[in-house]
């Protein structure tokens, strides 16, 4: 049995690229959890995409032994799309190591993650990382720690995870300052699911933190949120591999395998209890995460529909927050309406479908979920502009708003204010972090944030701004739907919802953009934007007038055929709508309008 006073459960939290993964590697090395041979850099990021993008998408946990203590490191996803997952991972801990990059200073997610940690009553160990770098400004980082969180200079550890400087002190302080878990191993079972993943051989593996009671092999358990019931087949702790043991008791972190078929039965944040001696209530904070951003995925060729379905289903096995349902578009045929936690989540799924499953897909422009208040005093939620009811029955439209926090060097503030205003942001607050850096707070429609906001912010601040956001609820807006007609036919997949003040401009910009990306055909193609029956913008793609290959010399027919085939192959990657071949980028064009 495990001595609860010797356990420390902690996370490392940081803004992207502030060195979280490198520190994790170093901890595993120093505690000899992994030998050098096993050591791949950044062990905890396992998916290829994570490595490429340098972000952690799914969290994991690992158990280390150090100076007679058990240290459970619970890794957290590093992107704002996965805030809920982060908060559940933190809920499983008593402490957190908060990293600030000495070359960058505090960023938006430093603050957001620290706030999540504080909300979960975690003991925070402040660390200034990357002090070995030539452009490091540890003093400034220390200053920000003091200003933002009120730490004293003595508490703050100066470290270089890369070179190992200060890492042992971090381990020592975890033992010294992070409180051991409390809990009663004899009480009814309460175990928090902070992550779960699908393993092709073992089914769903659930990562848990036991708060009270004991979970054992053979025991019947129940998920208090989803009410699903299972028999436990195996429990254990995590190194790089699963290390089975007889039981997990209060305070411990480990995994549970219980013949769970899919992730929707083991949702992050849910509480596991025993069937025989159930806990009175679940651990706080469980929430069914709803997708915030939706888009359509359609196969370029219709016969790939089933393949696309199989691929999405497979991805969903490992991603409970991915939502999908069949969608039938008049323009694009059969496909799926998919829901995501955010834009990055969407991009990751799209990329995996294309890369891992080799599918050619058309993704339609992302939409948020609008709340439609109807004249009969009922309300509905729609996740696609095409689902907007006829305007005669619509009393008002509400859209989701975010509170966004932007950290930016003072000299770029002007540019950021301008962008936020263009994006219908409502100014809330501006605070100086230090004489050179500012924290801005805005309220902004989610739809605006998913429309190039990141890129605009990046280019206006040369990449120096960082941002975090949280959903704050719905607000009424004067919104209209803009329809696009190609060759006189409405193309449902190109419709978008926009603020009335921007409708004319956006309609015009989109028709111009479509004129650019849709190739010429043998006939003239009008491209129109309309609000209701009123056309607000029109462009014309002129007819192609000449395409003749003339010379066919010495009977070289093969060459002629190859040239024709090359031209034809270009067309194949496009989607035919009516008689117009539309390239993939046309469906995303609405996002590219500044």
């Amino acid at each position: 049995m495990t001595d609860i006073s010797k356990i420390r459960n902690f996370s490392i939290i940081a803004h992207i690229d502030h060195g979280k993964s490198t520190l994790a590697d170093r901890l595993l090395e120093i505690t000899k959890t992994i030998d050098k041979r096993q050591m791949r850099e950044q062990v905890l990021d396992t998916m290829d995409l994570e490595r490429e993008r340098g972000i952690t998408i799914k969290s994991q946990a690992i158990r280390m032994l150090y100076k007679d203590h058990i240290l459970n490191l619970i890794d957290t996803p590093g992107h704002v799309d996965f805030t809920y997952e982060v908060s559940r991972a933190l809920a499983a801990c008593e402490g957190a190591v908060l990293l600030i990059d000495a070359t960058q200073g505090a960023e938006a997610q430093t603050l957001a993650n620290a706030n999540l940690a504080l909300a979960n009553h975690l003991k925070i160990i402040p660390v200034v990382n990357k002090i070995d770098m030539v452009n490091a400004e540890p003093k400034r980082a220390v200053e920000e720690f003091r200003n933002l969180f009120g730490f004293s200079e003595e508490e703050i550890i100066l470290a270089s995870a890369k070179e190992g400087t200060g890492v042992e002190r971090i381990l020592d302080e975890i033992i010294l300052k992070v409180p051991p878990p409390t809990g009663d191993e004899n009480a009814p079972l309460q175990a928090l699911i902070f992550d779960s993943k699908y393993d092709a051989y073992r089914g769903v593996v659930v990562y848990v933190r036991v708060f009270n009671g004991t979970i054992q092999k053979g025991m019947m358990i129940r998920m208090m949120g989803t009410e699903a019931q299972f028999e436990v087949q195996e429990v254990g702790t995590l190194k790089i591999d699963y290390m089975p043991k007889d039981e997990l008791t209060a305070g411990e972190v480990g995994y549970v395998i219980a013949n769970i078929k899919n992730l929707s039965q083991s949702r992050v944040g849910d509480t596991i209890t025993g069937l025989n001696k159930p806990a009175k209530e679940a651990l706080p904070g469980y929430k069914f995460t709803k997708p915030m951003v939706f888009c359509g995925f359609f196969p370029v060729s219709a016969e790939k529909y089933q393949e696309l379905r199989d691929a999405i289903e497979k991805l969903q096995l490992n991603d409970a927050s991915l939502f999908f349902e069949p969608e039938n578009s008049a323009a694009l045929g059969l496909g799926f309406r998919c829901g995501f936690l955010g834009l990055l989540h969407l991009e990751i799924v799209q990329e995996r479908l294309e890369r891992e499953y080799g599918l050619d897909i058309i993704a339609t422009a992302p939409s948020v979920v609008y709340k439609i208040n109807k004249t009969d005093n009922t309300s509905i939620f729609i996740d696609s502009p095409t689902k907007l009811p006829h305007l005669s029955v619509v009393r008002s439209i509400e859209e989701p708003y975010l509170k966004i926090t932007i950290f930016v060097p003072q000299k770029y503030v002007g540019g950021v204010l301008e962008i936020c205003q263009d994006k219908r942001g409502i100014f809330k607050n501006m605070e100086y972090l230090d004489p050179t850096r500012v924290m801005l707070t805005y309220e902004m429609p989610l739809q605006e944030v998913i429309t190039e906001f990141h890129d605009m912010l990046k280019s206006a601040t040369k990449g120096y701004a960082s941002m975090d956001y949280e959903l704050i609820g719905y607000k009424e807006s004067d919104l209209v739907k803009v329809d696009i007609l190609l060759n006189q036919e409405p193309v449902d997949a190109l419709s978008f919802i926009v603020h009335r003040d921007n409708a004319f401009y956006k309609g015009k910009a989109l028709t111009e953009k479509l004129k650019e990306v849709i190739p010429r055909h043998q006939f003239e193609i009008p491209v129109q934007a309309a609000i209701g029956s009123r056309v607000v913008a029109r462009e014309t793609i002129p007819a192609m007038r000449k395409n003749v290959l003339q010379k066919c010399y010495g009977g070289d027919v093969t060459r002629k055929r190859k040239l024709l085939e090359k031209q034809k192959a270009g067309k194949k990657r496009m989607k035919r709508i009516g008689r117009v071949d539309v390239p993939q980028e046309a469906f995303m064009a609405v996002l590219k309008i500044k």
Binding site: Q522, F523, M544, R545, K546, N547, V548, L549, Q550, K551, C552, Y553, G554, G555, D556, V557, T558, K560, R561, L564, E565, Q567, K568, K571, R579
Partner: protein, 373 residues
């Protein structure tokens, strides 16, 4: 069963700036060896097909008129002994201004050559220079007069339009000058800037100044009307002829009939098989003919699509009965949906026994061809 025969002569005084055909400048010393290799290949086909009957011969290049009289006589001796060239065969020899002499023409005539194709390309001296041609306008006319005086009654003039810096007026002048010479046949191609040519490099640098699509279209239209008015019948996308002087050799390509090609980089189509010779001169000179050929056995679908896109190049169009006879299916039934769409777009029409491009369809020929690939 009779074939058409193509013979490739890959030598030039100077390589033109637009040319990406297998042809070499400054390698005239190889000509004797090359003629020997050609004779070898001709013998090779002769033995396989048992001295095949030949209804048309086309000696192209390169610059075939670089060959000496002796080379010419030598070559035709062999062709006539390896193949059974029919008495009424059309025998074309390509000539380039600046390389034509009375003696060579006399030799050609004595070999039974009855058609000369003169590579004029343009009558504009500035443009001739730009193309890297070795001759000027007056040399075209001199060569033409020489050919006529040598007694040739069937002459083609090859022209290229949409040249860098060419105006519509320039092109009008060129076709007018060509027509003034009263050849029996005129070919007009629009310039294709091929990868790897000097013009391509200029194009990449942005210094080429090619006419825009509209001007190109106007030039094409100008050829159609001007040549029609002057008695040249438009019988194939790029070819015009006085009645009875259509090039029989080229028509074998458009109607998917068999042809044998010999020489460097030459193509053959025999029995549904497309054969391509190597473009590597050393390999070709080794005379191991089995090893210099790559073969592609056309599928039925490929044969069909080729018959369609080649046949539609002819102004009278694809012969529907011929198609049905060859493939056992009706073109109109096989492609009923596509045909209907093309007709409603005004690109294709069905006359009694042919499917053919409309005038609009001619300009957009590739768009139509692609559909049948």
């Amino acid at each position: 069963m009779s074939y058409s025969l193509y013979v490739h002569i890959p030598f030039c005084k100077k390589k033109c700036n637009y040319c990406d055909f297998p042809s070499y400048a400054g390698k005239e010393s190889l000509i004797p060896d090359y003629i020997e290799a050609l004779k070898g290949e001709s013998g090779y086909y002769s033995s396989i097909y048992e001295k095949p009957r030949i209804k048309t011969v086309f000696v192209g290049g390169g610059t075939p008129t670089l060959l000496s009289e002796a080379d010419i006589l030598n070559l035709f001796d062999t062709l006539r002994s390896d193949f059974s060239i029919l008495p009424d065969a059309e025998i074309t020899f390509e000539a380039n201004p600046g390389t034509v002499t009375k003696e060579k023409l006399k030799a050609l005539s004595s070999c039974g050559v009855n058609r000369i194709s003169l590579g004029a390309q343009t009558f504009n001296n500035k443009l001739l220079k730009k193309l890297g041609r070795i001759h000027l306008e007056h040399e075209i006319i001199e060569a033409y007069v020489m050919i006529r005086e040598a007694g040739f009654r069937n002459i083609n003039i090859d022209l290229i339009f949409a040249l860098p810096g060419e105006s519509i007026k320039d092109w009008y002048e060129t076709i007018k000058k060509a027509v003034d010479l009263k050849p029996e046949h005129i070919s007009t191609y629009n310039l294709q800037v091929e990868e790897g040519t000097p013009l391509y490099l200029d194009k990449m640098e942005g210094s080429l100044n090619l006419p825009d699509e509209d001007s190109e279209l106007k030039m094409f239209r100008a050829s159609l009307t001007y040549l029609a008015v002057n008695g040249y019948r438009h019988y194939e996308i790029s070819n015009f002829a006085r009645k009875g002087f259509e090039c029989r050799h080229n028509i074998t390509y458009w109607t998917l009939e068999d042809y044998i090609g010999i020489g460097l980089g030459a193509h053959s189509y025999i029995n549904g098989i497309r054969i391509e010779n190597t473009v590597d001169m050393d390999k070709y000179l080794s005379k191991v003919f089995k090893e210099i050929k790559s073969e592609h056995v056309n599928t039925n679908k490929e044969n069909m699509s080729e018959m369609i896109f080649l046949g539609l190049r002819l102004i009278e169009g694809l012969d529907l009965k011929n198609f049905a006879g060859k493939f056992g299916v009706s073109f109109r039934e096989l492609y009923s949906k596509e045909i209907e769409e093309l007709i409603s777009d005004g690109l294709l029409e069905i006359t009694g026994k042919n499917a053919r491009l409309t005038k609009k369809g001619l300009f957009l020929a590739n768009e139509v061809f692609k559909i049948f690939l």
